[in-house]
Assembly symmetry: C2
Homo-oligomer: 901 residues x 2
C-alpha cells in the first residue's frame, strides 16, 4: 500500500472476509453503502470482498481539476490484490479473472441518481476464462455484452439506444423474442456488433485493458456526482455538493449462474403494515437489473406470502431452503445489530448467499408506528427512540380518510395537495348553495376560482373544496386545513363556466350536481365516487403519542374558533386554544347585517348601536368555547381583518345586499369605495381598527369578560381568557388597547361584582414588533408569533399572490421550501429569536407561543423549541403532528446537550 | 436665604441690578426666559430685578403630590426682600408697594402655552399707595382691575367672560366705548363688581394678602405645565414632561404710566428679509397685553420704517429719542453677545427703558440665509456655525415659486401640502387631456381622485396636481415631488362629477377649463389666478450651500429618470443619480404597446420579440441620461412594478386599448385577470420578475451596457453604470440576477470589443434583506436602502392605504411623525443599521446609500450619516436640502466627537 501521512490520508478502505477497515459509523467518509458493507463484513456476514475509495478523494478530485491524488493508484492496486487473494482470482487473469462491480455511494441515499458498472474486468480474453470456469459460455458472453453495453453508456457516453437497437434487430432477424432464448453464439455475434458500434461512435476500440476499464469506471462515478440528475436531487434534498461520493469496488457474485443462483431484495418486516414478518421478492437465475427491468415477475420470499397471494411459482423458502435459512438468520442478526427494520439486497450464487447491501428500510406511516412500538416492546429501542423514529409529517396520512388503494379511479384533474383527506360529493359553485344542500343532508364539494372569507359558511358545509387559483397557503388552503376539510388548490386547468353551472377541464365537462371525489393528500380530483378508508387511530398511535407527550417540553394548543373545532382539538390532544379568531363570527349570516350597519354608521354612536346587537351573540360564542375548553387556556384575538372584507364588493353584490337588507345601495357603494385598499394586507386592520374605532374592541372585550364570568360561575372552574391584540407595530398601540381592555374589564367586573384573572398580550407579526419587542413586552403578558404575516412582511411577499411565482422560486432553488409552510430561519426565524430574547429580557415570565401555520410544521416546531417558546398552536387536525414534533425537538435538544457534556 | 445641602438644592436664583446667580447656559434649570433675564442682567442691561424658581422645584412639586419642597418659602421670601431692596419698595407695603409679575418659562419656548399674572401685590390697600406714588389714580385702579381679572381667571379659575361682560355692560350703561375713556372712579366701580363676581363664583373674597396671591400664582404656573394646551404642545414638539417649567417673579415696570411710558417688541434685524436693520413696533402708554389685544395700532420703531409705510404716528425714534438710543445700543450689545438676531420685549416707564425678554428671533428662510451669511462676513460666527443656523426644511420655501403674499385670493379647498410650489392653470381630469392641452402650450392642472403610474405622462404635462385621496406619500405626492410639480393631496371635500366635466367642493362647482391656482406648500387651492413670485436663488443661497458642501461627508445624489430631471438635479448640485427607475420609460405612449405585447406573449420567444422593440428605446433613454450626468455615477434600477400595472384595468379601458392597438380584448382581459393581485406591493414584482422572465432584465442590461459604451466612446469620459436589482429578499435571487447581468455584459462587450467597469448592487428594501445582509453583500457591490418599501414592510403598513388612519395615529400620539416622511429609527432604522453593519463586515468597501423618500428628509439624513452611509439620494428639488442636512450631520458629529475628547 502506498504509505500515507496518517489516518486522514488513507484513501482506500478494504472490506470483506469478516473484517473491514471501516464500519457503519463512517458514512461521512465511506458513504452509506460502503460503511454498511464494511459493517456487515465485520458482523461476519457473507459480503463479497471489496474496497471503498473515500468521499475525500471525490472532493480532492474536483478541487484538483478532476485529477486523482498522488498515491491513489498504488492504494487501489493493493486493495484489488487483496480482493483477488480472498476470492482466489486475479484481476485481468485470462484463465481465472477477478470481476468487479463499481458503484457510487454518498453519505445520504440518492437512489438511481448516480452510476453503476457491473462485470468489470471482462474482455475478449477473460470472457473465455469465465466461460471455462463457470462451465457456462452463454452466461459468460451474456455477462460480457451486458458489461460492454453498461460501460459504453455510463463511462464512454455512447447512447444506450444504439445497443438496444442492435439487440432488437438481431432478435427480429432471427425471430427471437426473449433474451433467454439467445445462446452463447448469439451473444458472441451481438458482442461483435456492439464493439463495432463503439468504434464507430468513438473512433477507437472498446477498452480491453481491465485496469483502464477500472479507472474509467471510477472516473465515471466521481463524474456522476455532478451530473444534472444528481444536482437536482441534491438541491431538492438539501445535500451539499461538498459531501462528494465514495466509490465501492467489489468482487462480482452472480445470481445468473443457473437455477441454483438468484437475486433479490427483502425487508426484515413488512414495510406496508409493519408486521414483524420478513417480506421480499427474488428472481432465480437473474442479475439485479433484471428485477428492476420488470420483464419477469419476481417470486415471493416465503411460503406464507406465496399462499396469501395465490401464486404458484415457488417461494425462496421452498425453492432454496438452505439459502433462505441463511437469509432468515442474517435478518435476525441485522435487526439485532441495527435495531431497525432493514432493507437488503442479496444474491445467491450457485447456492451460496451473498449480502450486497443493507440499510434502514422505507415504510408507510402505519408501518413506522407499528415497528417503533413493537421494537420498543421487544426491548430493542427505548420509548424515546421510538418517538424519534416516526416522521411527524407522515402522521397526516393517519388522521384523515384516504382513498381505498384498490378502488378504481378516473382522474379528472390535478392541483396542489392543500389539505389532506378524501371525500366524495356533488359539485356546487357557491357557498350559499353548499350550505343549502348540506342542510338537506347532501354531501357537496365546493368548487371555486378562489375562496374568500365570505365563503366560510359554504366551506364548512362542504365535505371538500377545490379551487382553480391559490397556493398551499391561500385562503382556501388555510381554512380547509383548519376545518379538516380535504382541499385541492391551484388546479389551473379548471375552468368554471360563466353561468356557474359547470366546469371544464381538458375538454371534459362536469356539471353542477355531478359526483366527484377529492384526494386532498395527493392533490387529485376524480370523476364519480371512489371508495375511501376511514382513519384508524389504532393502539399503536395512542401508545406512541403517549410516549411523545411524556417527552416534550412545549405545550400544544390549537387554532379554533367554533365549538366544533374546539371539540376536535381536545380530542386530538390540544392543551388549549392558541388562536381563536373572532372575525369568522362576524361573517355568520345572522350577524353580517349588524356588522354592516356598524361599518355604515356615521359616528361612534351609530357604531355602538350596531355593536350592541352583536354583543350578546359574541358573548354566547365565547361561552360555548369556554365550556368546551373548560380548565384550559383560550387565547382570543380581537378583530383583525379590514372592514371592507365584510362588505359586498361588486356592484351586483352590493345591489343584492342592499335589496336584501334594506340598506341604501348608494351609501353602501360609497362606503365600500372609500374602504377599498390597494394592499389590504398592509391596510386598516388589526389594532389599527381598535385605534380608529375603540368601540369595536370594547364590545369584544365586554363579550369575553362577561362570557368568562358566566361560564366560570356555571362550571365552578375559573376561566382565564387571554386577550390578544393583533398587528401591533408600536408599543403605544398596545398600551392604548390594553388600557381600553383593562377599563372595560374593570367595568364589567364591577357591574357583576365578580373576580377574574385574564391576560392581555399581543401577536408579534410585524418586523417592527419583533425589533422593538423589549418595549412591547413592557405592556404584554404574552407574545404569540403570527408567523404567517411575519413571513409576508419579512419577505415582502403576499401569501395570496405568491402562487404565481413560487414555483419558479422552488425550481430555481432560491427557496428550498415554501416559507409559508416551513419557517424561514435566516430571516423570519431571526426576528422570532430577537423578539423572544428582547421580550424575555424585559419580562422574564413572558409567555411565548406561535399561532401561524408554522405551528403545525415539524421543522418549524423544532426551531421554535430551540428559541424557547412555551407552546405551539396549530389547526386541530395537526395537533398530533405538533405533539410528536415537539417531543422530537425536546429529545433532540436533550441529546445535543448531553453530547456536549 | 434658607440654606441648602449644596448647589443642587438651591431652588431660587436671583437676577437684576447688574448681577445674577444664573446665566444663559442654565436654561435646563432656569428655563429660557429666566436664563436670559439673568444673562442680560449680567451684561449690565436694565432688567427689572427678580428671581427664578427652578424647574427642579416643578419636578419635585409633581413628584410630591403637588407639594412644595421644605425651605422653598424661606428662599422665596429672601429673594423677594432682595428685589424690594433693589427697587426701594416692599411687598405688601400699603404706601410703597412692590408689585411683581409671575411668569412661566420652560427650557424650550412654548409660546402662549402657559400662564402669566401681572401687577401681583395689589389689594384694596396697596392700590391706594400706587395711586399716590404714581400720582395717577386712574392708572392704579386700572392696574388693580387688570390684576383681579387676570388672577381670578388664571389662578382661581373664574371664567374671564364674566369680567368682560361686567366691563361691557358698565360701558354700555354709560355710553362709553374705549377703555381709555374710563376714569379712576369708573375703575373703582368696576373693581367692586369684579370682586362681587369672584365671591359669587367661589364663595369667598378675592385674596387680599399679597403672599397668598404670590403662592397662588406660583402654583398656577406649575399647574399650567400639565394643562391640556401645554400637553398637546409638548407632544407635538417632542418636549418631555419631565423637563418641568421654571417660575419667574419680577418687579413690575409699567408702560402705561402716561405718555412717557410705552411697551414694545423688536428684532435686531428684519425677520422677514434678514436685512441688518432694527425692526419692531411699540405702543405708548400701554401694557404688553394691549399690544397683543390688537385694539390700538402699534407704531413703528424707526423713522425709516414709518416713512416706508407712509404712517403718520411718530416712530419711537422720533417720539422717545433717548429711550430709542438706549435700545439701539442694547441691540448692538445683545447681537455681539448672543451672536444671533434677537427678538426682545421692552417697556419704557416714565422715560426709562427696561428689558423684559430676549431670545433668538424666528425668521423666514430667506432672512435666515441672509443673517447667517452676513454674520459670518461680519466675523461674528464661523462658516460652520452659519451652516448650522439654517433649518434645512425651510429651504423648500426658497426653491419653488410661491404665492405673492400681497395678491388677493379666493380659497376653494384645502388638502395636504404634498409638494411645494405654486402654479395656476386650467382644470383637466385626465392624463391624456393634460398631455394634449400642454402640447398646445396651455397650462393645465390635473385633478384626480387619485393617480396611478398610468397618469405619469399627464402629471408631467401638468403644472400642478390635485387629488381627492391619498396622503403625503401617495403616488401623486411622491411623483409630484420627484418632478417638482406643486401638489395638493387628500383634498377629501373634492367631488369629481361622474362625467369628468367638473368638480364640486362645498357647494361650489368648478368646470373643466376653469382657472385655478395651487399652493402646494400650504396645501391650498384657490379659484382663478393668484399672482406668484419666482424663487430667487440669490448669492446668499449659493454662498451658504458652498460652505455646506465643504462641511459634509456624505455625497448627495438625486432620484431622476428623465434627461430633464437629471439636468435639474445637476443644477441643484446633485453628484450623481442614486435611483433611475426604468418603469416610467415603459409607460411612454410610444412604448406601452410593445410592453403590452411582451406581457401578452405566450412564451419566452414572444416576449423576446417584443423586448427587442423596446431595446433601442431604452438604450437611447440611458444614453441621454449618461450624457447629462457625464462624469458622475448613475444607479439604474431594473424593472420593479408588477406587470399588471402596464395593463388597462377596467373593462372599458381594456376595450379601448384593444380597439386602439388591435389586440384581442378577450386575451387582454384574461391576462389582466390572471395578473391581478390582492396585495401588489407584496406581489410579483422587483427581481421576482427577473426570476420568472429573465429576458426582461437581459434586455435592460443590454440597453445599459450598450448605452454606456456608446456614450463613453462619444464623450471620451468612461461611464460606470451601477446596475441595481430591486426587492431582493434572499442572496440567491441576487446571485442569479448578477450572473445574468454579468453574462449579458460580457456578451455585449465582446461584440463591441469594448471595456467598461460597472457595478452590480441591490436595494435593501425588505426586512429579510437587511437581516441577511452579510450573505447578500457577498454578491453586491453596493446597497441602496429603499426605505419607502422597507418602512411599508417593517410596519406592515401600506403607504397608499395609510392615509385613512394615519391622522388617528398622529392625533393619538402613537406616531410622532409620519414614518414615510421621517425615518423610524427604532424599527426601520434598526434594520438599516443591522444591514450596514453586516454588509460592511462581509465586504468592507461596500458602497452604501439611501434612495427612499427619506433621502431628502433632514432628520433621516442625520440618522443615516450616523450609520455611515456614503450617500443619500432624493428628488432633484430636494437636493439642496439634502446637501445642507448632510453638512449639518457632519458638523454635529464632529462637534459630538470633539466634545467627547
Amino acid at each position: 500500500m502506498a504509505g500515507g501521512q496518517g489516518a486522514t490520508t488513507k484513501r482506500v478502505y478494504a472490506f470483506g472476509a469478516g473484517k473491514s477497515e471501516g464500519d457503519a459509523s463512517m458514512k461521512t467518509l465511506l458513504g452509506g453503502k460502503g460503511a454498511n458493507l464494511a459493517e456487515m463484513s465485520n458482523l461476519g456476514l457473507p459480503v463479497p470482498p471489496g474496497f471503498t475509495i473515500t468521499t475525500e478523494v471525490c472532493t480532492a478530485y474536483y478541487a484538483n481539476g478532476r485529477a486523482y491524488p498522488a498515491g491513489l493508484e498504488a492504494e487501489v492496486d493493493a486493495a484489488l490484490a487483496r480482493v483477488g487473494a480472498l476470492v482466489g482470482k486475479a484481476f485481468g487473469d485470462a484463465t481465472n479473472p477477478l470481476l468487479v462491480s463499481v458503484r457510487s455511494g454518498a453519505r445520504a441515499s440518492m437512489p438511481g441518481m448516480m452510476d453503476t458498472v457491473l462485470n468489470l474486468g471482462l474482455n475478449d480474453a477473460t470472457v473465455e476464462g469465465l466461460a471455462t470456469l463457470s462451465g457456462d459460455p452463454r452466461f459468460a458472453y451474456d455477462s460480457y455484452r451486458r458489461f460492454i453495453q453498461m460501460y459504453s453508456n455510463v463511462v464512454l457516453g455512447v447512447d444506450h439506444h444504439q445497443f438496444e437497437e442492435i439487440l432488437e434487430s438481431y432478435k427480429e432477424e432471427r425471430d427471437l423474442f426473449l433474451d433467454t432464448e439467445l445462446q452463447a453464439d448469439d451473444w458472441k455475434s451481438v458482442i461483435a456488433k456492439y464493439k463495432s458500434a463503439v468504434k464507430a461512435a468513438l473512433g477507437r476500440d472498446f477498452p480491453q485493458d481491465p485496469k483502464e476499464q477500472l479507472w474509467g469506471a471510477i472516473g465515471a462515478v466521481f463524474g456522476s456526482w455532478r451530473n444534472d440528475r444528481a444536482e437536482v436531487y441534491r438541491r431538492l434534498h438539501g445535500i451539499p455538493e461538498s459531501w462528494g461520493t465514495a466509490v465501492n469496488v467489489q468482487a462480482m457474485v452472480f445470481g445468473n449462474m443457473g437455477e441454483t443462483s438468484a437475486t433479490g431484495v427483502a425487508f426484515t418486516r413488512d414495510p406496508s403494515t409493519g408486521e414483524n414478518y420478513r417480506y421480499g421478492e427474488f428472481l432465480i437465475n437473474a442479475q439485479g437489473e433484471d428485477v428492476v427491468a420488470g420483464i419477469r415477475t419476481p417470486q415471493t420470499l416465503t411460503k406464507r406470502a406465496r399462499e396469501a397471494m395465490g401464486e404458484t411459482a415457488p417461494s425462496m423458502e421452498e425453492a432454496m431452503p438452505a439459502a433462505f435459512a441463511s437469509l432468515t438468520e442474517i435478518f435476525a442478526k441485522l435487526e439485532a445489530h441495527y435495531r431497525d427494520m432493514q432493507d437488503i439486497e442479496f444474491t445467491v450464487q450457485q447456492g451460496k448467499l451473498w449480502m450486497l447491501q443493507t440499510r434502514s428500510g422505507k415504510r408507510t406511516a402505519k408501518a413506522a408506528l407499528k415497528i417503533a412500538v413493537d421494537m420498543c416492546r421487544e426491548g430493542r429501542i427505548s420509548e424515546a427512540e421510538a418517538v424519534m423514529r416516526i416522521d411527524p409529517y407522515s402522521l397526516d396520512q393517519l388522521l384523515h380518510p384516504t382513498l381505498d388503494p384498490k378502488a378504481p379511479r378516473d382522474l379528472l384533474l390535478s392541483g396542489l395537495p392543500a389539505s389532506p383527506g378524501a371525500a366524495s360529493g356533488e359539485v356546487v359553485f357557491s357557498a350559499d348553495e353548499a350550505e343549502r344542500l348540506a342542510q338537506d343532508g347532501r354531501k357537496v364539494i365546493l368548487v371555486r376560482v378562489e375562496t374568500s372569507p365570505e365563503d366560510i359558511h359554504g366551506m364548512h358545509a362542504a365535505v371538500a373544496i377545490v379551487t382553480a387559483r391559490g397556493g398551499m397557503t391561500s385562503h382556501a388552503a388555510v381554512v380547509a386545513r383548519g376545518m379538516g376539510r380535504p382541499c385541492v388548490c391551484g388546479a389551473g386547468d379548471l375552468k368554471i363556466a360563466s353561468d356557474d353551472e359547470s366546469f371544464s377541464v381538458a375538454g371534459r365537462k362536469v356539471k353542477k350536481g355531478d359526483l366527484i371525489t377529492v384526494d386532498g393528500a395527493a392533490g387529485k380530483v376524480f370523476a364519480g365516487r371512489v371508495a375511501t378508508i376511514e382513519p384508524e387511530l389504532s393502539g399503536d398511535f395512542a401508545t406512541l403519542m403517549g410516549w411523545a407527550d411524556k417527552a416534550r417540553r412545549m405545550r400544544v394548543r390549537a387554532n379554533a374558533e367554533t365549538p366544533h373545532d374546539a371539540k376536535v382539538a381536545r380530542q386530538f390532544g390540544a392543551e388549549g386554544i392558541g388562536l381563536c379568531r373572532t372575525e369568522h363570527m362576524f361573517f355568520d349570516v345572522g350577524r353580517i347585517i349588524a356588522v354592516r350597519e356598524m361599518i355604515l354608521a356615521e359616528d361612534r354612536k351609530g357604531r355602538e348601536a350596531a355593536l350592541s346587537k352583536l354583543l350578546p351573540m359574541q358573548r354566547s360564542d365565547f361561552e360555548e368555547i369556554f365550556r368546551v375548553m373548560s380548565g384550559l387556556p383560550v387565547t382570543i384575538r380581537l378583530l383583525d381583518p379590514p372592514l371592507h372584507e365584510f362588505l359586498p364588493h361588486s356592484d351586483e353584490e352590493i345591489d343584492e345586499v342592499a335589496r336584501a337588507s334594506g340598506m341604501d345601495a348608494g351609501k353602501l357603494k360609497d362606503r365600500a369605495h372609500k374602504l377599498h385598499e390597494f394592499n389590504p394586507m398592509l391596510g386598516h386592520r388589526g389594532c389599527r381598527l381598535g385605534v380608529s374605532f375603540p368601540e369595536i374592541y370594547e364590545m369584544q372585550t365586554r363579550a369575553i369578560i362577561e362570557a368568562a364570568v358566566n361560564v366560570g360561575a356555571e362550571t365552578g372552574e375559573p376561566i382565564t381568557p387571554e386577550i390578544m391584540i393583533p398587528l401591533v407595530a408600536d408599543v403605544k398601540e398596545l398600551q392604548m388597547m390594553k388600557n381600553s381592555v383593562d377599563a372595560v374589564a374593570a367595568a364589567v367586573l364591577a357591574e357583576r361584582k365578580a373576580r377574574l384573572s385574564y391576560l392581555v398580550g399581543t401577536m408579534i407579526e410585524l418586523p417592527r414588533a419583533a425589533l422593538t419587542a423589549d418595549a412591547i413586552a413592557g405592556h404584554a403578558e404574552f407574545f404569540s408569533f403570527g408567523t404567517n404575516d411575519l413571513t409576508q412582511t419579512t419577505f415582502g411577499l403576499s401569501r395570496d399572490d405568491s402562487a404565481s411565482f413560487l414555483p419558479d422560486y422552488l425550481r430555481a432553488g432560491i427557496f428550498e421550501k415554501d416559507p409559508f409552510v416551513t419557517l424561514d430561519q435566516a430571516g423570519v426565524g431571526a426576528l422570532v429569536k430577537i423578539a423572544a430574547e428582547k421580550g424575555r429580557k424585559a419580562r422574564p415570565n413572558l409567555k411565548l407561543g406561535i399561532c401561524g401555520e408554522h405551528g403545525g410544521d415539524p421543522a418549524s416546531i423544532e426551531f421554535v423549541d430551540g428559541v424557547g417558546l412555551d407552546y405551539v398552536s396549530c389547526s386541530p387536525y395537526r395537533t398530533p403532528i405538533a405533539r410528536l414534533a415537539a417531543a422530537q425537538a425536546s429529545l433532540a435538544a436533550t441529546q445535543k446537550k448531553s453530547s456536549l457534556h
